[in-house]
Symmetry: C2
Subunit: 426 residues, 2 copies
């Protein structure tokens, strides 16, 4: 970030300084043309490609440190950049440039009997703090989406990806400068002191409008304790696939194998399979057979009795997001019990019903209180790209402002423009 840390700087003052710089960038960002924003993204993509050797070296150092720290292979994989992944990040920036500008969209217009014309128009949210973990590409994705939506972003990634993230942020800032936009539209927190995260969540002295915390259970408590500004939580995805008694069992099995095993580390991966009692004797052994050697199944007493390859589950399994080749299996009494189960044990992220019974499917879609409810498809479709949104900064698991994939539109708010000719209110 090319900034001198003075001896008197604390994590809090550092974050407040970033917030002040970000706020100063807002007026220019809010009125930036689409052309300027897209040019910044294209320049950043070029800079990333041109600097890929340096980025690979920095990433190798991050990986070496993580290995020395004994991190798991799944973690190392998320951290790792390759030529191909760097090209993917650059292409991602260009993909965001190709998306329509979400700022200035006319959301609706009303002409009042008194002649006032009232327009509701999309505007940026302001300064966004983004807290994420080890994937360095999130810095580019979040930076691109915030920039395109006219917001300034303060990125705070995991310390393990510090070297990689710094170079990605540098490329974004180079792109901004080349396009004549304020570099401070994209900044990174320069310390991994937890106090900096807490200060972001407190709003950094009134400079931060929104924090997007993307992470696991550890982050929940911190957000709950410290957040004083609005947050768009991207927390757990304890997703369910429910096999209703009216399911086509072969179709249901194919969908569930994909929902669990296509990638086990994504938030839309199914973690728990619910099976109606009526079809459990037929379906549970099919499930055990399909998953044998590929995925551990932990089931309730009924599931275990139906197939001994399903090991007994503990109580905590029903509320666990494994993000691994493990799934829980519970046998339920029917649709009502399945809906109640999902609403209690799920994380309101993505839940699916597999059935050929259309009425049952509609009841599930209506009654399950999740951001995404699915009939007869894989929960792994929970993704902004798959929803046609182009790109996403995460999946919102709260209820406010946005639910599900957070893309460009969700990163805007609105204001009312009222045009009159001297009207007074009677």
């Amino acid at each position: 970030m090319a900034r001198d840390d003075t001896a008197s700087e604390t994590p809090e003052s550092h974050v407040r300084d970033l917030g002040t710089r970000a706020r100063a960038a807002l007026p220019a960002l809010a009125v930036a043309s689409r052309e300027a924003k897209d040019a910044a993204l294209a320049s950043a993509a070029r800079a990333l490609r041109a600097g890929r050797q340096a980025l690979l070296s920095a990433n190798a150092a991050d990986i070496a440190a993580a290995r020395a720290g004994g991190m798991a292979e799944s973690f190392i994989d998320r951290l790792t950049l390759t030529e191909e992944r760097i090209e993917g990040i650059a292409a991602g920036l260009e993909a965001v440039a190709a998306l329509p500008d979400p700022v200035g969209r006319l959301l609706d217009t009303t002409s009042r009997p008194n002649g006032l014309v009232i327009e509701r128009v999309a505007v940026p949210i302001g300064v966004i703090g983004m807290i994420f973990e080890s994937r360095p590409n999130v810095a580019a994705d979040a930076g691109a989406l915030c920039l395109k939506s006219g917001n300034a972003v303060i990125l705070r990634g995991g310390s393990d990806s510090a070297r990689s993230t710094a170079l990605i942020v540098e490329a974004m800032r180079m792109g901004l400068a080349e396009a004549g936009l304020p570099e401070d539209a994209v900044q990174a927190v320069g310390t991994y002191d937890r106090a900096a995260v807490a200060e972001l969540l407190r709003g950094a002295g009134g400079t931060v409008d929104l924090v997007i915390p993307r992470g696991g259970k550890g982050l929940v408590g911190l957000v709950q304790r410290e957040a004083r500004v609005p947050t768009l939580l991207h927390l757990e995805g304890n997703c369910h696939s429910y096999v209703h008694e009216g399911a086509d069992l072969a179709k249901a099995l194919a969908v569930i194998v994909n929902a669990k095993l296509r990638r086990t580390g994504v938030c839309g991966a199914t973690e728990s399979v619910l099976v109606d009692r009526a079809i459990a004797p037929a379906f549970v052994p099919m499930l055990a057979e399909a998953f044998a050697g590929r995925c551990e199944l932990r089931g309730d007493a009924v599931a275990h009795a139906l197939d001994p390859r399903i090991v007994p589950a503990g109580k905590e399994d029903w509320d666990t997001e494994y993000l691994d080749a493990i799934a829980s299996v519970a046998v339920v009494g029917g649709l009502d019990e399945a809906v109640a189960w999902v609403n209690v044990h799920g994380s309101h992220h993505t839940d699916a019903i597999l059935t050929e019974d259309r009425a049952a499917a509609e009841r599930f879609l209506a009654d399950v209180d999740s951001a995404i409810v699915i009939h007869n498809a894989s929960t792994q479709f929970a993704d902004g790209g798959e929803f046609g949104m182009g790109a996403e900064i995460g999946i919102a698991t709260g209820r406010f402002h946005a639910r599900g994939p957070v893309g460009l539109e969700q990163l805007t708010t609105y204001k009312y423009r009222v045009r009159g000719s001297g009207q007074t209110r009677p």
Copy 2:
């Protein structure tokens, strides 16, 4: 609320109990038909009219207590119910019944190349805590809007209106019961201990999804300290009317007199008048003349020098919402200075420019960061009814989820319904 208070009940446990009851009401509310919700509102209106004598007596007792407590006349006025005002409250319930149901609106539909059909559909937010002050009608307005939007509401009004509010809530609950809907869709906090407000703001043990705090500066600090759930703030309205050098001065004056004096106690009332230096010698004396004897004007040195009826303002005047027959007047150097002034001293509520210069107006509308920006009309149009929204629960002054009037649509969130035929993600 017909509940026994046990000796062991604390304000916190009381509020958590209300939250638990409210959550239990949600599933039935979320799927309630428009007919049932409208019937509940119509029944509540009938109950209010039938019980108006009892309500007037209860209100008289509230007023007597407030007078004994030495409350100001403006406060007493807000507290007072009359036959006419009760009829207005009942008619307000019927007006909400006449509005379209905001739940289930199809916000958009996408058909993906793989055959998935993705719908975004409006759903209730959940349990809403509503904190308000002395106007008893807010209980009816908020109750009606929350019910119609499928939310359960926990009302916490000012202690001064306790007797009046209790009867209004009783009428709402009677209406719910008659329509076969859960009475606990509308509840009132049964204690005026501040700890109950804090517990609501903390989410009452995870039972509350959103709090709408509607009040003055005193509430800001409490919300800032205690809130752990999303809030839709309805705080100050330090609204500006800016007379640009290109204004039609007579038109501008008429608009400003209305913006300040139509009603001085509403949040959309103009509190501060900005006048371009170029037209100040002409306009400031016109303003002083029009307001003489009707409204105190506190001005900067230039304004005071132009007309001695304008008394010198103190520094705090620029940030003060008077809600009274007082306004501040500042002379500014032009559009840029006016925009900067409003963005610093305003409360991001409602701000207007008076000018015949269309380009200047468009810049003001673009650059002023307020929920409502107005060209050539009174700031007192800041009202859901005037915006064609039918009714409002307040004016949101934050940036998140909703800005400006909060009506039925703003009281909903959404979910995605995805319908497939066995799709798996490649």
